[in-house]
Symmetry: C2
Subunit: 349 residues, 2 copies
Amino acid sequence: MALASIFFGEEAFNQLREVLRSGDYTKVGLLVDSNTFECCYPNFMEALAMEVPQLELIEIEPGEESKSLEILASLWESLGELQFDRNSLIINLGGGVVSDLGGFMAATYMRGIDFINFPTSLLAMADAAVGSKTGINFGAYKNRIGSFSDPLMVGIIPDFLKSLTEQELYSGWAEMLKHGLISDLQHWNALYQFDLEEKIPSKRLLQESIAIKAKIVEADKKEGGLRKVLNFGHSVGHALESYYASIQSPISHGHAVALGMQVELFISAQKFPWDQVVYDSVQEYLRQYYNWPELPVDQEAFLRLLAGDKKNQASKIRLVLLRGIGSPEIDQEIAPALVWDALTKVVDG
Amino acid sequence: MALASIFFGEEAFNQLREVLRSGDYTKVGLLVDSNTFECCYPNFMEALAMEVPQLELIEIEPGEESKSLEILASLWESLGELQFDRNSLIINLGGGVVSDLGGFMAATYMRGIDFINFPTSLLAMADAAVGSKTGINFGAYKNRIGSFSDPLMVGIIPDFLKSLTEQELYSGWAEMLKHGLISDLQHWNALYQFDLEEKIPSKRLLQESIAIKAKIVEADKKEGGLRKVLNFGHSVGHALESYYASIQSPISHGHAVALGMQVELFISAQKFPWDQVVYDSVQEYLRQYYNWPELPVDQEAFLRLLAGDKKNQASKIRLVLLRGIGSPEIDQEIAPALVWDALTKVVDG
């Protein structure tokens, strides 16, 4: 994902107008879910401020359940019925579900047609929409089927954030915090000092955070090495996300990642010589905004989920750890017992 | 598809042994259909002459029906059950159905794992296995869903051709003839002089023909321009293939392409100043080996199928025509009536 193809605010609409006026596209599909159709589609069309005669609106249900093979197949069918051809375009207007599903749909229809992401959630802006990853869930596994495919462009419209709940904002914020922790003390400090309870993230903060992600992805799209740093907090986070979902007390992705970061940070400080003051300030910040659910975590279930994470080769547990803020170390082999030990200590504070 | 990753005969097995000995792969899936399991798998394993402890045999039914979403989903499921991870490898041992389906399965499982093609039919050697195209059929459309994905390597084993029927040999031969016609008089002459009734194509002929295809695909993988020359004979050919299938008298893909080349050659000679002697020799060669079925072609049905070919933008009919052997011209807009007129004249001789 080239940073050069990510545009912010009015500039994003300028770019999109240019794409649509180029006449390169026979059809334009706008993929929304019923939430983004209500909250964002009217603003989107108003800000776009142009007639798009070849526009076709395609709507899905919101939520992770839409990232299924059944929905994907029905979308492929719709594209055929609407006579989309190789020179058609898809615009994904929504959160991560819309861009993951819509991106994979576009990447595989007629061996790939162009697509554009306009993320509407903070999580999608900071993560899904700029990551070149597309896909659906399959069987019991998240993102089991998918591709690495770059959108033609990404449009980041901070105004969309106004419609989000506090929980949704905090979910995306966790990924931004991660970007600071894995790569940039300055970005971490800016986030640390920003008051998310008072206002939505500024354009500058978004730009900084997205630039970190885009540069890492551009350097290593297929996760051969460097890109793995983006998994900080995610190995433990994914296991927690699956665990709480399995006991019918789901927490948001970002919340789970923030809890995962607390645990992986604890292990980092055991392995590397962290400055105690810095460590405490990070850990306290995370604990303050991302608290542990009161439901206890079941050791056996957790470790099974941790081992099943597809980022671990042959079921070994490999984590991204931090030597300090901005200094990640990938592929750190850790005994599952140690992860569990860290988790219990973090939960106990 | 880089020419450098296509290997012939014993060299292909040397390369494969190196890949398997590298220890890079946790699992190796060998995808076969029940025909290639019988005809090629024993020879393949004997020639490979090494133990592959992580090998898993995956078998599908032969035939175009296997290129379906249902079969694809069952294969994705199998990979999961067999615990294939991101560092697993797929070897496709079969014709175009196996490499198209197996390639797409690999390209989308966990966002893409490595795959290798060992084509067993002449058609797959000369075309499908070295084209970077993968995919399945969907709804009424061939290859509607798929990707452009390069195999790690392709192994061409001329010995596999010994098990093919005459009809299968001629089907692949048509694609080789096409390579001569669109790009190389010398290759055309070599094919023209070779007696396919007496012996299977030589390694040298295969190398020449595959090199032509691989170079074109390498220069323009996603068919932005140059690659379109490979569609010579295919716009009319695909319509004929679908037509004869629809009246329950299917002909092979190569046979249909050879008939398509006859029609598109006729139109070429109307539009460009062909040397009459050269034209006659090409047309006669094609007519001699690829005759027209006695069943007449229905004009309306044919033109509908021709317009529906997905290579035509917005239902206009665009053909690849030849100024002469080795001089293709892409995107030649032709009135459907003229195509029909050419077809009737070619059928009448």
